[in-house]
Chain length 319, copies 2
């Protein structure tokens, strides 16, 4: 059997044909800007499913299910999209609309949970019974997998680890709180810290790195500068990693998962510069326990494809 | 069938005979100071079990199991006590020692987890599938019950919610971290804040309340002063509740449990002064969701007996 996974991203709607080992066999994408209403979204999902299956020569009755990952709030039981920042749509009964055209099981899930499920099945969490992912992007997404199932909480909204406050009365967060972790440890936060450092230290190697990149600050700028021996760049990295470690240590002390994987663009950074110092801080600060029982802090393995793979594998087991 | 629950406290070893509805039928206690070694602990547990059963006219074969709640670290599978601050004992194979004298199933568990299990079975978490308890005492203990089971994490040490840092680079915690929640929201923290306020405002009603209590600062002092209209007392209460809400909101955003119960002495405070303002802050600051799906923030119901009841009910279901 094959699966279709669809990832509703910021720019594109990406769909993939996936086998039950999580291998992506083919992909398609469509510009999200072309989707103006709920029917258009449902129809895009239907047509991408049909085209992927047809191009791969897979009859539709060999497609076990279609899964959709949404950056936002979903209602998994009814298969509805309640809210997403990427589309001007609210309260869309996606399963019902999809089933007007195609009678395949349709699952819908938060995209961070999809990424966690993908890593659990075929990535960094393969051997873990208790698994947590933390995705460092515009914000911080969290996914909790326990005994092979996504942990949803009572209302489908569990795992909002980015909105754990780690700085009492700290920076304002759009969620309404102050001091949320994602204000300090998301890719957005890293770029803000980098920008502030560049503004204060116009003659630093960090400023030069940014200038060489056409003035564009990226999540890599500080790490590149640090590798060139820049104290300013190193200070940004150190500050960022300290904040990242603070939230991760909190999650370790609360969950004690077998494995905690960090994903998102920032996690691709050189191991010596990010993962290793992070591991050292978490080991130092988490509740002492025998080395062989400590949570393994690792990087996610599936990159951008985690969303498609996880959405596809929503149909893999009865959930 | 009946159960024996034993709670290893700071002063006493308390044991209770409990029925399967969680009713405590009889109790016994013994001074903890009399217990000098592992054998004495095992023997105290055996003799308390025998005496409780005998006094109640319950034959030993009608006792389903004996459970022990320990403030510290345990190894549930082997039934060992690894570490507790209340006894000068380390790495005690308690089940093995107990079985030299008495062949009843023996369970051992962290005391915060016992309290959570008791509230889940017969207290504030009765109707909850996902249930979290937060016990405000010397530190802050946490217990997580999911689908009828205590969540232990990979190493039996999950639920250390008191060691979630909420103030980056904040107060030192004996665990080695800085800014741990229990440094701001435990009963100990409330007393520290009260003491600091009394020192700064020697002419306040708060200072008078403390003087009336023989100079002893309690977790109630600030609340009593606030009820008498004291701005100093009220400020201490407000500050304390804000810190309490910060950690609870974090737990709600991460777990979205059906119910979160606060226990410990502080939780007995007048509802209008503690629970209601706490509920308002958590509702304001947690991720928005429909009112009927919001985590219910309540007070624990079983008080000091939660430890005995929870330890007893460890044997209630196959775990």
């Amino acid at each position: 059997m094959k699966y279709i996974g669809i990832d509703i991203g910021g720019t594109n709607l990406k769909a993939g044909l996936v086998d039950d080992r999580g291998t992506v066999l083919a992909t398609k994408k469509e510009k999200i800007a072309q989707i103006h209403n709920a029917e258009a979204l449902a129809w895009a999902m239907v047509s991408m499913t049909q085209e992927l299956a047809s191009a791969a020569g897979v009859p539709l009755d060999q497609i076990k299910s279609v899964g959709v990952g949404v950056p936002g709030t979903v209602e998994i039981h009814s298969g509805s999209l309640l809210y997403t920042c990427n589309l001007p749509l609210r309260n869309v009964p996606l399963r019902r609309l999809f089933h007007r055209y195609l009678h395949l099981p349709l699952y819908i899930e938060n995209d961070a949970n999809c990424a966690a499920l993908a890593e659990y099945y075929v990535g960094a969490g393969r051997d873990s019974k208790r698994f947590v992912t933390v995705t460092l992007g515009t914000g911080i997404g969290g996914g909790i997998v326990h005994n092979g199932k996504i942990y949803h909480g009572s209302n489908g909204m569990a795992g909002e680890v980015g909105h754990m406050s780690i700085v009492h009365n700290g920076l304002d967060c759009p969620c309404g709180r102050k001091g949320c972790w994602e204000q300090y440890a998301s890719a957005t936060a890293l770029k803000r810290m980098t920008r502030e450092a560049v503004e204060c230290h116009g003659d630093s190697i960090l400023a030069q790195v940014v200038a060489e990149n056409g003035g564009v600050i990226s999540g890599q700028s500080a790490f590149i500068a640090a590798r060139r021996g820049d104290a300013v760049g190193q200070a940004v990295c150190d500050e960022y990693i300290a904040y990242l470690a603070a939230g991760i240590t909190n999650l370790v002390n609360i969950f004690q998962p077998d494995t905690l994987a960090i994903g998102g663009g920032v996690s691709n950074e050189d191991e010596e510069c990010l993962l290793k110092p992070l591991q050292r801080l978490v080991a130092r600060d988490s509740i002492p326990c025998p080395a062989e029982k400590k949570t393994k802090i690792v990087t996610a393995q599936l990159g951008n494809q985690a969303g498609i793979i996880g959405a596809a594998l929503l149909g893999k087991k009865k959930r």
